[in-house]
Symmetry: C2
Subunit: 322 residues, 2 copies
Amino acid sequence: MNIDMIRAAAGRLKGHARRTPMLNSPFLDEIAGRRVWVKPECLQHTGSFKFRGAYAALSALEPTVRARGVIAFSSGNHAQGVAYAARLHNVSSVIVMPSDAPALKIANTRAFGAEVVLYDRAGESREEIGARLSAERGLTLIRPFDEPEVIAGQGTCGLEIAEDAAALGIDQADVIVCCGGGGLTSGIALALEAEAPGLRVRPAEPQGFEDVARSLASGEIQRNARTSGNICDAIITPQPGDLTFPILKRLCGPGLAVTEDEALDAMAQAFLRLKVVAEPGGAVALAAALSRSQEIAGDNVIVTISGGNVDPDIFARALARL
Amino acid sequence: MNIDMIRAAAGRLKGHARRTPMLNSPFLDEIAGRRVWVKPECLQHTGSFKFRGAYAALSALEPTVRARGVIAFSSGNHAQGVAYAARLHNVSSVIVMPSDAPALKIANTRAFGAEVVLYDRAGESREEIGARLSAERGLTLIRPFDEPEVIAGQGTCGLEIAEDAAALGIDQADVIVCCGGGGLTSGIALALEAEAPGLRVRPAEPQGFEDVARSLASGEIQRNARTSGNICDAIITPQPGDLTFPILKRLCGPGLAVTEDEALDAMAQAFLRLKVVAEPGGAVALAAALSRSQEIAGDNVIVTISGGNVDPDIFARALARL
């Protein structure tokens, strides 16, 4: 993993991924006690940063390999990113999803062009299903985060942050990134190391599921006791990745953790002040900037909104808090 | 009014107004039966395109004149645009608002730095109050649309549309613009006339309040019978402007009108597929693209979302339709 891979991914993504803007609001600055700069990856294709990594991975495959198709295990943003990136490359994709996944997510993934294969969480192994399909059809597995080209794709978001920060005259700041397995966080950290070394990445997670924060604090990979039961489910993984953690350990500052209510309040502020739609897991970095300002230093803070794929009823819960 | 004024305004706005992106979604394309390209001015500072015109007008004033401050009559997006543009110029602003304006709008306008002067709609004339304050303090009135520098500022949105359309290889398309007094519509039309003559502007309005569509059809300025009682209130004006109408008449195709439900459905689609917040009046152009496709021709259509300043309860009504 190195900056050249990220720059190469940026070249392949040009004209395909969206160049997302940098947003701000004096109202958010007032809440946070400093300038808050928001990178809204909810505006990316498929509603999350995952499209970057998926497109980077697909576009890096040998054409003959890619032509046989790709496979991913996901019921969420990675599924949609892979499905749409495959469609843009005119190759087939198979997404293996639990049969109890929300109907809307299954429908969306199919609408982006994927073949959805459902499995029974209780009685079947998705890895076995995936291995069988891959062997039969020669599909290439696209991992959600522990995959160099995926990390490189997510890192392109960091190149844009570096460019925007330079234009704003910001050379010292914490960059808070919504963190699950660490693909986006490590990619941004690598990009900033090369392009904006005064910007320091800090992972943000849901409180009670801060495996990355605990891993950084202890220096060793720590696991979450459970991976569900929180409104920010979408970004909760069992533990940081084997590829991502060494990068996080080398480059990141301390992790931040926020409550469910803080995430909902950040979603409401994103609606009210930025006019963008954040999903709960995608709002944890903004929540940290708004609710944990005493844990942050400096006149400026940069945060990602990593995705906006939220059900209307959950969004209505956030609005009701205004 | 000419393209040079728009280009000059773009120069003054550079680094101050946001360069908004162009969004799209295969789901919207499917509903509309053609590619739909969305210019989300809800992401502009203060949540609407109005910031462009306000900043352009403020920045065009002689410094000694500007230093005495500005005044505007508005309870909506123009008020916030003028207040924030004045703050960025370090000059004072007075916004004259009806005393029954929503508390949130009054609070927001004050928070952007304006002095809010309330008047009683029944017993007082806002024009008299404005004239008195202007005379006493030497304030310059910033009109919401019938003002050359304001039209020039809104036209900068058209320059960006022309640039993005060229990058997408689109040289023929209808550009549907949410239309009140016609400042944004005429500004975009002038910009496209010079930069992308194959793109034709068409105003979109709430059904029953389509004064511009009727004016274009008859060739003479027509008035609305009433200016309230619709969820899209914010973009309803009594009639097209004296400056804007001749431009609209010369450059625009036929107007489109949408129902309240169509506007709410477009807000819901913007939430679901683009992850942006549209206000009802700001959603009428997208609504026309999605619901009135038989009135539109071509493989591509470009629409503005002109603003996103919507109360949570109205937004919840749109979400409930999903």
